[in-house]
Symmetry: C2
DNA sequence: TTGAAAGCGCTACCAA
DNA sequence: TTGGTAGCGCTTTCAA
């Protein structure tokens, strides 16, 4: 609508001075700046996006590729999209959605057309087709999640192995010697990168501590409450006294229900720790100790890395693992001495 | 990367001919077109997005504003985002996410900067701040959902009133005279535009049919299973024999569990119809008759209206209600003659 | 500290 | 059916 020359005229300066005053890329006297700013304000000026993309070197847009799969856990997914968007806006960037079946096409399209400055990759699979593509494109890609082959890639994620290990450690320290991991639906161990990492962290920690560690999925392709409850019942029968929960709020609730159905109190009879949840595990009937997955932590870092990748000193490729944090809510205690 | 003049040189034609061949806005001889197309293919040419936005009149981007509220039902929300994105891509449009707290700021920003050609408005509240803004902007906005004051707006949605009425009609025809609507969490009746419409359609239909209609919310701010089950128990005590379910899959499941707990079989003892669900109500333990909310229907139409709004003959503003469809799965029958 | 002007890579008008 | 070219509205270099 209103263009830069109108602002220049209103402020009695040249076009270039307006541009520099707004970008801050060249010093502008305070008086001039003030005049320009009020002209901008009055006229409601906003730089034309297309002209900026063409003349400048930045589009101020990041693409976000997020394949929607049937087994996607919607609330977590939404939380990551939101966190990414907020982090981007904080840096004056917008988010362009790439949800096409073939995410690879979209990535290539937006990269080759110069529509975006970088790509944020969500919901990473262990063997993700977007990995190979990211290496070819001439704009940076940041992976939120860690694919199996991440050579040369920049990845950000919670340190799920450490998170699971931390949970086992806490249970061990409390005295538990038989612990169980209630995971995700079986298919998530193929489609997603982090459930296997939780499992691996859990199993490694159990081996290291010489505690007995049981693992069960929660059905599939989507969570099946009955499967969850059966898993809990089986584990109780096997002598499990410490539970590690990785999964959605529905699976969490089902575990607590099944424990209640068996008359096991938390933490008096059994201990429970939630790992990698994006919801609030303190809001259950029994507030649960948690090692949460905080979308903002990953997304802020991812956007930060994307920004730095555009700068003159891009960061080295590599995996950035965010250390887990433990939030106690009283759901862990010594095992019952029956 | 590779620019239009390289394509022109490779194909032995002028720049403008390349442009016209690709846009189809001017006839190009088959031979020339073929040469150009293979040059494009070989060189991997893709028109620069910024240049296109600046020179052309279209950005090929729609904004999608989707406020994330705590009570947002994530799966449905995701389904709409996905459906919108797919519909847009089909028209060669990309989707730019607007999730900022103050959606109004984002709308104004992308409109004033010419970043997008139009705005799709999701998750519409009865009194939505985006309504006033949409009227000011000089790009078209399409609302997916119907705000209270929709004068001059273009809105698209399932005809929820008709959907609820259809459910009541079917129950009435089957012989039910006391029916109950299990709705959404209470807060949704203030934050969202469609739960009140379902309720209104239900109550009107009940009045028209002279059947007794009970209504209950499902707790709040988020669904509370215990509240759902209590609502069902109360309704059974009040003699309800036909249930209309509007809500998430968790609420549906809770209703079926509570019915089972009371020993009421579907459809022998009670009848159940799901209204406005985006998931598959045929996949429950008891397959449910459904009047579904199909995101693709609304989103395809919304994108279509957005496209037409950019054309030379923009559609009249108005509310486009999509007629409900009934899918029978055997969960409706005559009431038990006890 | 500021201004003038040369592009950025397209689209679409005017000619041929 | 095709080509030349004037912008589109900025950013940034070169000058002052």
């Amino acid at each position: 609508m209103v263009k830069i020359d109108e602002v220049a005229r209103a402020a009695g300066v040249s076009i270039s001075t307006v541009s520099y005053a707004l970008s801050g890329k060249r010093p502008v006297s305070a008086a001039t700046r003030t005049r320009i700013e009020s002209a901008v304000e009055e006229l409601g000026y906003r730089a034309n996006a297309g002209a900026r993309m063409l003349a400048g070197s930045r589009t101020q847009i990041f693409a976000l590729t997020e394949p929607f799969r049937p087994d996607t856990f919607a609330p977590t997914h939404m939380a990551f999209v939101l966190a990414t968007s907020i982090a981007a806006r904080r840096q004056d960037y917008d988010i362009l959605l790439l949800t096409e079946e073939d995410a690879a096409d979209g990535m290539r399209r937006v990269a080759d057309s110069g529509l975006v400055d970088g790509i944020l990759v969500l919901d990473v699979a262990p063997a993700d087709r977007r990995v190979a593509l990211a290496r070819q494109l001439d704009i940076p890609s940041i992976f939120i999640g860690v694919p199996d082959d991440h050579h040369g890639l920049t990845c950000v994620d919670l340190d799920f192995e450490a998170a699971a290990a931390l949970a086992v450690d806490r249970l061990f320290e409390a005295g538990h010697r038989v612990v169980g991991l209630i995971g995700h639906p079986a298919i998530a161990y193929e489609n997603s990168n982090f459930p296997p990492r939780v499992r691996a962290g859990f199993e490694d920690a159990c081996a290291r501590r010489e505690v007995s560690g049981l693992f069960r999925t929660t059905g599939g392709p989507v969570v099946e409450i009955a499967v969850v409850r059966a898993a809990v019942a089986d584990m109780l029968a096997e002598g499990v006294t410490g539970f590690v929960l990785h999964g959605g709020d529905d699976a969490h609730a089902a575990v607590l229900e099944e424990l209640a159905a068996h008359g096991r109190a938390v933490p008096d009879d059994v201990s429970v720790i939630s790992v990698g949840a994006t919801f609030d595990p303190a809001s259950f009937s029994v507030p649960l100790d948690a090692i949460p997955l905080i979308p903002a932590s990953s997304c802020d870092l991812a956007v930060d890395l994307a920004m730095r990748s555009l700068g003159s000193t891009p960061p080295e490729p590599g995996v950035h693992l965010i250390p887990p944090t433990y939030r106690a809510h009283g759901s862990v205690g010594p095992p019952a001495t029956s």
